[in-house]
Amino acid sequence: MRDILILCALTATVVLIAIWSLSAGAVPIPWHIIGNTLFDLEGPKQEFIVFQSRLPRTLLALLTGGALALSGVTVQALLRNPLASPKIIGINSGAALAVCLLVLVLPGAGLKWLPVAALGGGLLAAAIVTGSADFGRFSSGRLALIGIAVGFLCDAGVDFILATSADAQFSAPLIWLTGSLWARGWTHVQLVWPWLVILASLILVLSFRVDLIQLGDSTATSLGVAVRPLRLILMGLAAALAAISVSVVGVLGFVGLMAPHMARSIIGGAHSRIMPCAVLIGMGLVTLADATGRAIAPPIEVSAGIVTALFGAPFFVFIMIQSGKRSRV
């Protein structure tokens, strides 16, 4: 009962944030005009701003926020550690490296191919990390370490490419890669929403098994779970969710780290409860970050990735205090 109340409250919050997001921005638009445009009523409208810019951005923020949060919950469960995040399996760095390589090797390719490169790079990095960790004795700690190492390696590659090539070539791709919803529109939404919804549903269906995996490999096996294939599937789903997000909005750090954590403290318990909660929190975080970034210093837009990182500051204090309490117990 309490859970349902919490989920309802969260849903209401997300809806409110989304509505605010439609009115936040460099150009102040009164509510009745927004209403007119959305519902095609009589009166003055602002077609482009509301319909082509803010609405798709809000939707994309909701989609990617939920995807990243869900990916974060899954990775944290697989690594059995609340400090893990999709970044740990090398997705962000792999995507960045792939984007830089694309610009380097095919400079005329045009920015349309960036999402494809980012997706490929992210998935490849995650595959390498999971594959190497699986080779030999698997331990979640080892997976985390390998993921971090691969991430650092890709970052070193990116730094090398940036240091030895023309600045101008990379400025646009780099901006595109720092988590931001600037200039995202219906094409981006249409590109990702079916995939994200399908993948997210798959993970939600498997939420019970995620609980079992958290108990430990041997316990899970004795309870009848095929641990290794399940782990690979879950990792693949989580990686795909995160990689698809990165490919359209760039690296929105900390959502995959914070949302599961917050969900766990608000609702706790089995993953069938944590996951929907985390999805809602993730949606709210990213939409709030994007709207704030637009509203704060018009016409300059602060990218959503920066705002989510800023949210991270009090968050770190929070988990510091939490871990202090936990260790003392």
């Binding site: 550690n81 400090l83 893990a84 995040s85 970044k87 740990i88 190497s132 331990s139 979640s140 700690g141 080892r142 985390a144 370490l145 390998i146 971090i148 190492a149 691969v150 650092f152 390696l153 970052d155 070193a156 730094d159 090398f160 240091a163 030895t164 901006i175 720092t178 750090g253 900390f254 780290l257 602060v302 990218s303 990735g305 920066i306 990182a309 800023l310 991270g312 500051a313 770190f316 988990i319 510091m320 871990s323 202090g324 936990r326 260790s327 003392r328």
Partner: protein
Amino acid sequence: MNARHRLPLQAGAIAVLAFGVLILSVYGSLMTGGRSDIRLSDLFTASTNGAVILDIRLPRTLVAACLGVNLGLSGLILQALTRNPLSSPSILGINQGAALGLTIGVIFPSVGALVGLMPLAAIGALAAGFITFSIAGVFAGRIVSLRLILGGVAVGAFASAMVRFSFTLEDDLARQVLRWTLGNISDVRWHHVQSLFVWSIGGTVATLAMAHRLNLMALGEAQASGLGADPRLTLMIGALMSACLTGTAVFVAGPIAFAGLVVPHMCRFCLGPDHRILVPATALGGACLLMAADAASKWLTSPVELPVGVVVAMIGAPYFLYQTLFSKGAI
């Protein structure tokens, strides 16, 4: 037991090897650069070429050496304090914290002028270390290895994100800050050497004095207190030292990742766990690594110079990956 008998011969061989590597690194670092017509003999003439070596290359080589000493020792201390061979200033987010402190000083010049940029870097390093240690439970007495590393990565990522935020500011400020995200020592002069040198020498001496305590840390909390070295005191002093060493290094050159990982790790592999030997060895090894990296940075993609941080990362990142794949014992 065998080791003891072989010790003099092994020690001698290692000493000769170390000396050779040192000479090579110094030579490599001094003889590479923008001009290709400089010879060692020019040092003894009063020509412009001689001035190039004295005014430009020698300070740069010294800065590289001092950076290596600072970062290597910082990594050594962190590895001892956390009893984790994979700790290093960059993995625990301390490097990035120092960079953030520096960035704040640049973006808010009033703060920078009030506190001073180098202290700001040290403060940033200390703050980041504090947060990472808290997350890992260091202050509560039990260090959880995975939490340490993951917490460090998260703190480092956060600090980097904040530093990168300044890229979105105006171009000039952005270019200035960019220099502080990749370790870069092009165009350093003697005044950069001064403060760094003091910290390197002082740091080596201080760490050597702490070597016994660091040895005891490796035994574990209980044993350490039992043997009379309060682990909390060691922790505080060690963390402070590490933060200052890292802060000064980042202030001069920006964050150079992996130097604090590779050098102590390799030294421990070759020379064993006794910190009384490890401290000077790490200092020497760090100096050699950075000077060699400096030489490579000038020579690899000539005439364009690579930032030295990129070269060290190109060595350190594969090393780190190799360690995580094939060695046991970190987690």
